[in-house]
């Protein structure tokens, strides 16, 4: 989130990464990703689809020679988006939440962009070769799908229930886990509720649109009274149109600021949870190893102790990385949330001001309507 000095492996500036364009080819969404070279003013533009992002994520997961990789909170990759079809709307909404709303996948692009930036600014992950090739190579990075590996969510799901409640040896992590579970749930709920609000606002905008259109049908030029009435109707239609636009703006403000922020927050909490889970898994592994070492017969004891030491070392490494990551995560998430909140508030304020201005103009016009 904040810029990192360790950008040596990455040949582009992390903050310049943008998703500038989106093309839809059948069922596949193609994203145009531009970035700025570090050592020159040249820009790079590559086209990637969601599968390439998945490849990147897998590559990040399965990096070798990175100590304590499992303690890293991986920036969450938004789930794959399916091009909008009318019957898919509700499904997509369930799957993607906020990212499915908004026009032309704007939110989705923003989220992907944010994902890339997060990866690029991460002190460890930015060193990954895969990221560089993802951002620079015009060729689509190897179609070879990396092994799904240990981070397959599906296989996790069953164990999760069991292991998640495992008592931690470290109070810090125990607390963090409790809080994380709590906040994950809450932020998910908050996101859903905000989605409801936005959806309702969109519905309202739609209803206003219908109302305003129907008002146009009331126009009748037969005689003086009818003309006067028609004028009133048209005026009302304009006003309702203004109300509609206001709702649209408010909805899109909600969407692009607080919505994205909450969505990101909940996905990040999810990512932290995964990291903590991985650590817990390691902890459990360590504990079982310890147990079996204690039970082990003398001839095997030495081997086991070696093994236990290795595991313990790994666990400690993971824990220390995790601690760092958590601290980094907390400070940056507050920052990100703050920015989203401020942006949101400012936008809403602007919208409200514009709207009030518009309304008072309408009001003035209305009051003068008959005096002409």
């Amino acid at each position: 989130m904040e810029g990192s000095s360790a950008e040596s492996a990455l040949s582009v500036s992390a903050n310049s990464i943008r998703i500038t364009d989106l093309t839809q080819d059948g069922d596949v969404l193609m994203f145009a990703i531009t970035s700025q070279k570090l050592n020159s003013s040249a820009g790079v533009c590559v086209f990637r689809e969601h599968e390439d992002f998945e490849w990147l994520q897998q590559s990040l997961f399965s990096q070798e020679n990175v100590p304590g990789l499992q303690g890293i909170i991986f920036p969450p990759l938004p789930p794959k988006a399916l091009p909008l079809q009318s019957n898919m709307q509700t499904k997509a909404l369930k799957q993607l939440g906020f990212l499915a709303l908004g026009q032309d996948w704007q939110g989705y692009c923003k989220a992907l962009e944010f994902y890339l930036q997060q990866v690029a600014t991460h002190p460890t992950l930015c060193k990954c070769k895969a990221l560089d090739s993802f951002l620079i190579n015009s060729e689509s990075p190897g179609k070879q799908r990396g092994r799904k590996g240990i981070f397959n969510r599906l296989s996790q799901a069953v164990e999760e229930m069991r292991k998640e409640s495992h008592k931690d040896v470290d109070n810090f992590f125990q607390n963090e886990r409790n809080k994380n579970t709590n906040i994950t749930a809450l932020s998910k709920i908050a996101t859903e509720k905000l989605i409801d609000v936005v959806m309702t606002e969109q519905k309202l905008a739609l209803a206003c649109g219908h109302f305003s259109t129907s008002l146009h049908l009331c126009v009748n030029q037969d005689d003086a009274a009818a003309v006067a009435f028609s004028k009133v109707c048209l005026k009302l239609s304009d006003i309702i149109e203004a109300v509609k636009q206001n709702f649209e703006k408010v909805a899109s403000n909600n969407l692009t600021t607080l919505g994205l922020g909450l969505d990101l927050e909940s996905r990040y909490q999810e990512a932290e949870k995964e990291m903590l889970f991985r650590r817990t898994c390691k902890l459990i592994e360590l504990e079982t190893v310890k147990k079996s070492t204690e039970k082990a017969k003398a001839n095997k004891r030495e081997v086991m102790e070696e093994f236990q030491k290795a595991v313990e070392k790994e666990f400690n490494l993971i824990s220390s990385v995790a601690k760092e990551e958590i601290e980094r995560f907390h400070s940056s998430r507050v920052n990100v949330l703050k920015n989203f909140l401020i942006g949101w508030c400012e936008q809403q304020l602007n919208t409200a001001r514009e709207c009030a201005e518009l309304y008072s103009q309408h009001l003035e016009a209305c009051r003068n309507m008959y005096s002409e």
């Binding site: 309702t200 309202l204 006067a228 009133v232 508030c345 001001r353």
Partner: protein, 700 residues
Amino acid sequence: MAASSERSPPPFPDSEEPELLEDSDDGADAFTGTSISEMDSLSPDTTGPPKDLFNTPPEDIFSDPLSDINSEPQKNVKIQSPGSDEAVDLFSDPLDDEADVISSPEVQNPVPDLLKETVETPKSDVIGKAPIDISSKPVHKNAIGARHQDIFEDPPKDSSKGSAAKKAGSAELFGDDDDDEDEEEEMFKEPLKAMTKKPQPSVASGPPINVFTEVKSEVKVKQHVKDDPTDLFAEEAVKAPATKPSSSGGSRTNGVHSEEQDIFSEATVELSLDSPLNDRKKKDAVKASVSAPAAPVASSSSKPPSKTLEELEEEESEDKFDLNISITNPEKIGDGMNAYMAYKVSTQTSLTMFRSKTFTVRRRFSDFLGLYEKLSEKHSQNGFIIPPPPEKSILGMTKVKVGKEDPSSAEFVERRRAALERYLQRIVSHPSLLQDPDVREFLEKEELPRAVGTQALSGAGFLKMLNKATDAVSKMTIKMNEQDVWFDEKIQDVENEEQQLRKLHVMVESLVNHRKELSGNTAVFAKSVAMLGSSEDNTALSRALSQLAEVEDRIEQLHQDQAANDFFTFSELLADYIRLLGAVRGCFDQRMKAWQRWQDAENMLQKKRESEAKLLWANKPDKLQQAKDEISEWEAKVTQFEREFERISATVQKDVIRFDKEKARDFKRQIIKYLESLLHSEQQLIKYWEAFLPEAKAIA
């Protein structure tokens, strides 16, 4: 109306009238102050000069109180000029030749083969019967009539009352008559000559029917103006169809009515002295004169001028209008299922017709319904648009009665209170209904007799439904061939409009529902943000989140208020107007019924004439006299019904125009109100965001 009814009874007045008219010509001149004979010299085609005259008077003329007399001659001019032009086209056609009527295409009902005897017999029978039918009604109609007499001691009224009664009585009598006739023709064969005569006097002395008891003190001028041209044409059509109906015809009629005009002109002067805004009047008059030619040329030539006059008068009355009604303090009285809501009806006025400037009464819902019943009984057949009261709601009221203090029943009470207030305001803003003694009594009198009929609501509702069903059937069976372009278009318009309003109403409802949903969702969101905030570690973020929760809570309240605003300003407004358009359609139906009566009378007249011809041919002089009497009687009725139709058409038209204006005004008012509320909530929103912004920025 007074004028027309007064003049209707004499069966053949036309033959003697010419000299009389010539005499009274002078009287007219004397009265009007301007020489109408000068007008006479103008050719009827040149409608320009009188209009110029109308337009040009400088302001000072109008600011002179006496100059209101001037407006009278102008009225006359206006009536004359367009009127006399059109009289040729419109009125000479159907009525000029009596023989024509028989063969004219307007007579739609196939004429059954009539036997000489059967012509009279059914009639006599029905007549014998009819008074009994009517006699069930007199009791309270008499009461109304009597009350009227007490309150308005108008000279013209007494004279008109008798004839009015007779006319209306016979109207009802023969309205029934025609329907029955065909079926009963074969059944009754005995000619009862004595009977045919007998009912007449009895009806004449019978009760006055509401049609004519309507407001007479203030609307007199209007009536006079309205009647004037109708008389003119009716007479002209019968008397001198072939001759050029030049302006002399117009002045002649003026002469005929010079006496009445005297009475009325006094009224005019009084009326206009009351209103200080002569400038305004002038402006309107100019406007009216401009708009009158542009208005679709109504088939009844009397309309354009009378309309403009009415516009004028309406503006005046509006200026004078100073009556504020508010309904407050809904209060539940009683317990259980016998409980009811009573409302405080406070009136504030400077109108002299009321005893004091402010007064307050308590009324319950059924009283409001009762008022409507009374008014519609009296006035709906006149073609007035009577604002309908809000509907009874068994569900809503039961909730209130059960006495749960839940928000929905509070909303129901508030909604009803507001609806009743609008209902009363609409009634009193109707210039004619305001004059009704029942309205006054409703506003002023401490204790009202309990309104009956409205409380047994299921029964009444059922009856109403039945009535509506029969109305619908009769509407289908009456096929009016509409000759008035204005009405033709307006009826269409009203129907379209009703549909559109219904559509709009549905949309507003959905809008309101969405708003409510939004407010609910915002509340839930606020809660979840609050939860999130409470479990947040970072104190600044936690604080900001709980602040945000508060902001969202307030926004929720805003949405809720706005939903209520949407509802009360638009949904209720539209619902009101859907009901009102129903009332407008009711007026059109009344007009159609009047037309039907007229047509039936025409048919009857034709039958009588045929039977006369047969009698003549069969050479039966004893019956011939009776047949002739009947013919003249029916001729009178035809003219009377026709006039009634003209009158109701004029009233309906006037009321619809008033309604349209009122509607535009009402909508505009509501829109402004709505905008104000929108603006207000937006400003609140700005405040909330402004308060929140530093909180968000304070997050470390």
